[in-house]
């Protein structure tokens, strides 16, 4: 009989081949002042059904990584691949929820905004798309705003439409950039639960950006911690299966906080 | 091909024979006499340059324009399209009129006077003014009045002259603008083209390309006959001709004015060109023509070479 060594906690449970994987991903913006290094040799792997959360200080390159995964940015170094094949451009297999409030198409009502990709990318017939869009909007609590144009919505309402639009698509890969930042606690909690359910049901792979450590531990199966600008990998942590409110959850949140902000213990909060 | 003909005229009473041809179906009649059926298309263009463009582009067959444009196009197309005159279109004097009472002859123009011509330097009016200057001050001074001339279309110049608003004090005009201007009490005539060239002078010429004439001899001949008949008919029936003009063009001009122009014996549609060589030689002398025509026959087809033109 051989003694099994205990599985190290930081090692994620791989359930299949990587859906999305980056190797030494380096992302550089070309600006007037020259090259601007945003992300420096970051590697990450997302297996099917996995939920990876990017955590890091403002400006560290989280959105940039997301945009590279979406196919909007070409790596200056390293590779980024989808199911083993290099990402060469954007596509509806990876639906993005952007950080900006202007991601709704201003010439479409909330309903039409949600229906748009269903009709155009999923090729659903209009009636079916409409039914699905109405359901998605109902789930984010916008039943009464179906026919309002984006400029008539509040900040949080716009973000909710964008979330509904992404979830209604049921993509294989979902890339979300601080989707809940503009939402109140209750709405946020509801949508977090909703997101987890949808992702689970569809066995979707999720790359998620947030500033809330609690949200990160709640949503993620794994966390990817980034250093301040330019973004480098600090560490990764496996956080699957932690239940909010439990001591393990609170402890993990505290650990992550201290990892991200080692000097913060001296600060006032 | 034989049997179709596309013609261009400009607005104005100088093109009356065309109106008569159209009104009386003369082309049909003369075509029938030659055993062909002629279909004609008529277009109106607003100036000599557009007319020449239309002819050269092959969009039209027979055009009517001033002597100046004909001489220019003859000069430029020698050895290529070989454009030449068919018949003389009309002869009439064009007058230099002024609202400056002090000006009795061109020698009286002062530095504050401005003489409007359709286009400085190139229009037949501008050339005539240069010709007059050359006669008065010697050949080398032909441009003496040029610094007083400004380009302005006839209607605008007449308006300016009549309204006494602009800086225009004189206008080398044309019918019917000169008649309209001279009807005003404060406006008088300084000279006219007949004085400059020493007698009745052809102003309008009907012309075409060599190719049209050679490929459509019957149509061409029918046109010449029709034109001659129309010209003769106008000379005999000025009253009826005036009515034809009003009817065909829808002109709102006063019938008496039209009639007075038509019955003026200096105004004629005689197909024989007169006094065109003087202008042609002058144009060559000042460099506007590269080729010097020996006689008027150089820039007319043989059609009327038997006539006593000049």
């Amino acid at each position: 009989m051989t003694v099994l060594s205990p599985k190290p906690l930081a090692e994620p449970v791989r359930t299949g081949p990587a859906v999305l994987s980056a190797r030494d991903l380096t992302l550089v913006y070309r600006t007037e002042a020259g090259a601007h290094l945003a992300v420096d040799r970051v590697s990450l792997d997302l297996a099917e059904g996995e939920r990876l959360v990017l955590l890091g200080p403002s400006g560290c390159g989280k959105s940039t990584i997301l945009k590279a995964a979406a196919g909007f940015l070409k790596p200056a170094g390293g590779t980024i691949a989808l199911r083993g094949r290099p990402v060469t451009g954007p596509g509806p297999d990876r639906i993005v929820v952007f950080q900006e409030f202007d991601q709704l198409l201003p010439w479409k009502t909330a309903l039409d905004n949600v229906m748009f990709p269903l009709v155009r990318a999923r090729n659903l017939p209009r009636t079916e798309a409409r039914a699905q869009a109405e359901e998605a909007l109902e789930r984010v609590g916008l039943t009464r705003a179906l026919h309002q144009y984006p400029h008539e919505l509040s900040g949080g309402m716009k973000q909710r439409v964008a979330i509904a639009r992404a979830l209604a698509m049921r993509p294989e890969v979902l890339l979300m950039d601080e989707p809940f930042a503009a939402l109140d606690a209750l709405t946020r909690a509801r949508l977090q639960a909703d997101l987890l359910r949808v992702v689970e049901e569809a066995r979707a792979t999720l790359l998620f950006v947030t500033h809330s450590i609690e949200e990160a531990v709640l949503i993620g199966t794994r966390l990817h911690l980034l250093s301040a600008h330019p973004g480098r990998t600090l560490t990764t942590r496996d956080v699957a299966g932690l239940t909010p409110g439990t001591p393990a959850f609170t402890r993990e949140a505290k650990v992550v906080h201290d990892l991200l902000f080692p000097q913060a213990e001296a600060a006032d909060v | 091909a034989e049997g179709t003909i596309r013609l261009v005229e400009q607005p104005g009473i100088s093109y009356l024979p065309f109106h008569v041809i159209r009104d009386q179906g003369l082309l049909d009649r003369h075509g029938a006499a030659k055993g062909i059926e002629i279909t004609s298309e008529w277009a109106q263009l607003s100036g000599g340059a557009a007319t020449n463009d239309a002819l050269l582009s092959g969009s039209v067959d027979i055009v009517a324009a001033g002597v100046g444009p004909l001489l220019t196009i003859w000069d430029r197309t020698r050895g290529a399209q070989n454009v030449r005159g068919i018949v003389a279109g009309a002869q009439f004097p064009f007058a230099l009129v002024t609202n400056n009472p002090k000006v009795k002859s061109i020698a009286d123009f002062g530095p504050d006077d401005r003489i409007a011509v359709p286009s400085v330097g190139v229009s037949v009016q501008a050339r005539t003014l240069q010709f007059a200057a050359a006669k008065l001050w010697g050949a080398e001074n032909f441009q003496k009045l040029d610094e007083l001339t400004v380009s302005l279309p006839h209607p605008d110049a007449t308006q300016a002259l009549l309204s006494r608003s602009g800086t225009i004090t004189a206008h080398f005009s044309n019918s019917p603008f000169q008649q309209l201007a001279l009807a005003d009490n404060g406006i008088h005539q300084v000279l006219d083209s007949f004085e400059v060239y020493g007698g009745p002078t052809t102003s309008i010429i009907i012309y075409t390309t060599e190719a049209f004439r050679e490929k459509n001899p019957l149509t061409y001949a029918a046109f010449v006959d029709a034109y001659s008949e129309a010209a003769a008919w106008i000379a005999e029936n000025p009253e009826a001709a005036a009515d034809t003009y009003i009817r065909v063009t829808g002109s709102k001009l006063d019938r008496d004015l039209i009639l007075s122009i038509l019955s003026d014996d200096r105004f004629s549609f005689d197909p024989t060109p007169r006094n065109t060589e003087a202008l042609a030689h002058f144009l060559h002398d000042v460099g506007a023509l590269k080729n010097r025509p020996e006689s008027w026959r150089d820039y007319f087809f043989e059609t009327i070479h038997d006539r006593p033109g000049s």
């Binding site: 945009k67 979406a70 196919g71 909007f72 451009g89 954007p90 596509g91 509806p92 990876r94 639906i95 993005v96 952007f98 900006e100 202007d102 991601q103 198409l105 201003p106 010439w107 748009f116 990709p117 155009r120 990318a121 144009y149 984006p150 400029h151 008539e152 | 596309r6 261009v8 400009q10 607005p11 104005g12 298309e41 008529w42 277009a43 109106q44 263009l45 607003s46 100036g47 557009a50 463009d53 239309a54 582009s57 092959g58 969009s59 039209v60 006839h154 209607p155 605008d156 007449t158 308006q159 300016a160 009549l162 309204s163 608003s165 603008f177 309209l180 829808g250 002109s251 709102k252 001009l253």
Partner: protein, 271 residues
């Protein structure tokens, strides 16, 4: 304090003034008055007839000289040319939006040809199309394509990045991307390009009709103006111009305004 839409209950007068038509009519009346006064003061009817005289001449020309027929002749050529020009311009701009070399080519072409006066093209038009409507349409296209392409290209290039990325994210590319994302997003600029193109189509048509004249008896508005100018009927010339102005107003208020109100203003893209 009217930076955002708000609700208030203004006085009757203010409410009447709210109505755009009322304000426009006020503007028109002021202009008419200015014209009448200028004409009276100038007292030179052969250069500047009075508004009343012009209106009388307009009525007469409509009754006796088929002015409306002439206007219709011009308008129908105009619409054909405008429509064709827009189709060409949109195709060019869509190509330019998708491909960088096409964009450079279009920008170069626009910089080169836009300043060329229509009159410069007439000889070529004659050469290629002959003395007919097609030549006019060719010249109209030249008048409309370049300014519209400029406005459209600017509009396309100004589309907010996020909206462009959203479209790409759904896998839209090429014509679909242009039609479904760029075009609505750039609609304010496209509309201003449409208006400018419309105006210059008129200008060019009137000017071209003067030079081109007519074939076979069907003169347009430009020819009407030219003929009356030749006969020194200044009041009729102004009557012709008045028709151009009226058509311009009708199209602006009836067509462009309506489109704007139903689209870009409703969508909050235009204040």
């Amino acid at each position: 304090m009217s930076d955002l839409p708000l609700l208030h209950s203004p006085s009757l007068l203010a409410r009447v003034w709210e109505n755009q038509i009322v304000r426009r009519l006020a503007v028109l009346s002021l202009l008419g008055l200015a014209w009448e006064l200028a004409a009276l003061w100038q007292n030179n009817p052969i250069m500047l007839p009075r508004l009343t005289t012009t209106l009388a001449a307009l009525a007469e020309a409509v009754r006796d000289e088929r002015l409306l027929g002439a206007a219709w002749v011009s308008l129908s050529v105009l619409l054909k040319g405008y429509g064709l020009a827009l189709a060409i311009a949109l195709a060019l701009v869509a190509l330019a939006a998708a491909n960088r070399f096409a964009r450079d080519a279009l920008q170069t072409l626009t910089a080169m040809f836009n300043p060329l006066p229509a009159i410069a093209l007439l000889p070529l038009a004659l050469l290629w199309f002959g003395l007919n409507e097609q030549s006019l349409i060719f010249v109209l296209c030249h008048a409309v394509i370049w300014p519209f392409a400029l406005a459209a290209l600017q509009g396309f290039e100004s589309v907010p990045e996020t909206q462009r990325l959203v479209g790409r994210n759904y896998g839209l590319r090429g014509p679909t991307f242009v039609a479904l994302i760029l075009t609505p997003a750039a609609l304010p600029s496209l509309l201003s390009g449409l208006k400018i193109g419309w105006a210059f189509a008129w200008r060019t048509l009137i000017a071209a009709e003067l030079v081109f004249g007519v074939s076979s008896g069907t003169g347009g508005l430009g020819w009407f103006i030219f003929r009356n100018r030749n006969e020194l009927y200044t009041d009729k010339v102004f009557a012709g111009l008045l028709v151009v102005i009226l058509i311009g107003l009708i199209v602006e208020l009836g067509v462009f305004r309506t489109i704007e109100n139903r689209t870009v203003r409703r969508w909050g893209m235009l204040k």
